[in-house]
Point group: C4
Amino acid sequence: MSEKSGQPTTARIEAFSDGVVAILITIMILELKVPFAVLEHNSLPELLRSVGPPLLSYVLSFIAIAITLLNHHSLMRIAPHATPGLYWVNALLLFFMSLIPLATKALGDNPSGTLAVAFYGVILGATSVGFTLVHAYVETLAAAHGRVNPRRRRDIWIDVLSCAVYFLGAALAFVSVYLSFAAYVGVPTIYFIPRYGNRSET
Amino acid sequence: MSEKSGQPTTARIEAFSDGVVAILITIMILELKVPFAVLEHNSLPELLRSVGPPLLSYVLSFIAIAITLLNHHSLMRIAPHATPGLYWVNALLLFFMSLIPLATKALGDNPSGTLAVAFYGVILGATSVGFTLVHAYVETLAAAHGRVNPRRRRDIWIDVLSCAVYFLGAALAFVSVYLSFAAYVGVPTIYFIPRYGNRSET
Amino acid sequence: MSEKSGQPTTARIEAFSDGVVAILITIMILELKVPFAVLEHNSLPELLRSVGPPLLSYVLSFIAIAITLLNHHSLMRIAPHATPGLYWVNALLLFFMSLIPLATKALGDNPSGTLAVAFYGVILGATSVGFTLVHAYVETLAAAHGRVNPRRRRDIWIDVLSCAVYFLGAALAFVSVYLSFAAYVGVPTIYFIPRYGNRSET
Amino acid sequence: MSEKSGQPTTARIEAFSDGVVAILITIMILELKVPFAVLEHNSLPELLRSVGPPLLSYVLSFIAIAITLLNHHSLMRIAPHATPGLYWVNALLLFFMSLIPLATKALGDNPSGTLAVAFYGVILGATSVGFTLVHAYVETLAAAHGRVNPRRRRDIWIDVLSCAVYFLGAALAFVSVYLSFAAYVGVPTIYFIPRYGNRSET
C-alpha cells in the first residue's frame, strides 16, 4: 500500500463513495413495491399504472447517480492526493446524494404533488452543488501541482448549469409539474452530450 | 494506484459492481420473514409451507446472481481498461440486476400467480441482455487490443440463449407456471455445464 | 492490477465477501427497534426487558460473524489464487451467512420459542459447514502449491467441532432452550481460545 | 497483493470498516420518511415541523460518523500491519457505530424524550470509547515499530474528552435535554478545531 508512506492516496475516499452510491441505488429498490393485491387479479394495466411512476422516478434517479459517479471517477483520477478538505467536500456531496432515495420515493408516490416534485429538484440541485464543490476543489489541488487542463476546468460551468436547472425545475413545480419534469430530464441530457465527449478523450 | 497515470483500470467498475451485488443479495434477505405467529405454535409443517416459496425463490435468484458475478469477474479480467462505454453497459446490467430483489419477492409471495412468475422471467431476461451487452462490449475492446479468444467469443451465444430461455419462461407463465419454473431452473444449468468448464481453463 | 495477467488473485472474492458481511451486520440493526411507546413513559426496566433479547441476540451474531470474517481473512491470505471452485464454496458460505439476520431476528423476538432457538442453531451450523468447506478447499489449493502447514490443517477439526456444537444446540432446543444458549455461547469460546493463538503466529 | 507474503496489511480492515460505515449512513436514510399525508396538503410549515427533528438528528450523526471515519483513515495509515488485536478493537468500534442508526431514529422521533436523548449520548459515547481504544492500540503498534509521534499520542486525550462529553450529555438529559444537545453539538466542534489542524499536517 502506497498509503503507508508519503501522501495518502484517494483510494479510501473512492471506495467509500462507491460503497455509499451502491447502497443508495439499492435502497431505492427497497421502496419499490409490486402491488400484490393487483397482481392477484392479474390486471396488467392496473399494475403498470401503480408501478409506473415509482419505476420512472427510480430510472431518473439511477441515471443522475450513474452520471455523478462516472464524473466522480474522472475527478478522483485527477486529484493528486487525499486531503482533509477533499474528504469534507466529498462528504458534503455524499450527504446530499444520501437524500436522493427519500426524494425519489416522494416523487414516485406523489408524481403530481407540487411539494414532492419541488423537493426532488431541491435535493438533486443540492447534489449538483456538492459535485461542483468537489470539482472546484480538485481543480485547485491539481493546479497547485501544475496539472491544469483548461477544457476540464470549463466543465465546471456545466456543473453550475445543472445546479441552476434543477433549482429552476424545483421552482417551476409551483407553476406546473410538467415544467419540472422537463428540467429534471434535461439535466442528464446536458451531461450526456457535451461534457461526456470531452471526458472520454481525457 | 496505476489509475493516476495513463488509462484508467477497471478497478472501480469492479468494486462498484461487487458492492451493488453484495447489497442486492442481502436486500433479498430483508424480504424473507419468519412467520412469528406460526413459530409460537411451533408447527414445523406450517413453517415450511409459509417459508418455503420465498426461500426457494431466494435460492434461485442467489444462484443466478452468483453466476452472473463470477462471469463478470472473468470478463473484467479481459477488459484492457475502463471506458465510458464500458461504464454505461455495466450500469445497464446493474440497473436490471437491481430489480431482481423486487422480482424475487413477487415470485416468493405469489408462486402460482401468472403475472408474478412472468415478471420474474422478464427481469432475469433483462439482466441476461445486460450481461450479453457487457460481454460483447468487452470482446470488442479486447479485439481492438488484439486479444481475441475464439472460444470465449462463442460464449456470447450462451448469453443469448439464456436471454431467450428466460423470456420464453416468462411467456410460458400464461400457459403454466411450471413450464416457467423449468425454464428458470434451466438457465443456471446451461451456465454450469459447458461455459463453466471453458472459463476455468482460461 | 496483477489480475490482468496470469492467475486471478482472490482480491475480488475478498472484497465481495467483506461487502456482504458489512451489510449483514448492519441489516441486523434495521431489525432492532427501540419501543417508542415505552420510551415516552421513560421506564428504564421495561425498555431493557423489551430491547434486551434482540440486543443480546445481535451481540451473539455479531461475534460469530466477526470470528468468521477474521478467519476468512487468514484463509484468503493462504489461497494461492482464485478458482471457480473457491468462488463457489465461498458463495455457499455467504449464502448461509446471509440467513443469519433472519435467524437473529427469530431468536431476538422469540428467545424462549423452541423452533426459533433451533432455527438459529441450524443457520449458524450451516454457516460453520460453509466455512469448513472453504477452509478444506483452501488447504487443498495450498497443498497443490506445496504450502502445507500441519497445524493450520488441524484447525479444520475446530471448524468441524463448531458445526457439531451448533447442530447439537439446535437439537437441544427441544429439551431446553438454555442448553441451546450454552452451545451457542460455547462456539465463539472454542474459536477464541485455541485456534486464535495459532493464527496470530502464522 | 502484498498480503500474500509477510505481514498482512490493514487493507481488508479498512475496506470492511468503510463498507460498514457506508451502510450505516444510508440505513439512517431508510428511517427518514417524508409524511405523504402532509405532502398532499402541500403545507410547508407542517412538513418542516415533522421532517425537521429526524433530519437534524441525521445531520448530527452524519457529521459524527464522518469525523470518526476521517480519523480512522489517519490511524490506519499509521498502523504498521494488521493484527488480530487490531481487528478486534476495530470490531468493537464498528459494533458501537452500528448502533448509531438506532439512536438516531430514537432521537429524531422523540427529540424531547429524556430516555431517547440519553440513549443517543450513551451510544455516541460508546463509539468514542471504541475509537479511543483503536487509537491507543495503533499507537502501541506504532511505538513497537519505533514510530512515535508525541503530538499524535496527545490526541488520545481529545478522544477521552469526547467520550466524557457524550456521557455527560447523556446524564444531563435527566436535567434538561437542551444541555444534552449542547454536549452533542459540542463534540464535533472539539474534533473540528484543534485535532483537525494537527492531522492535516501529519
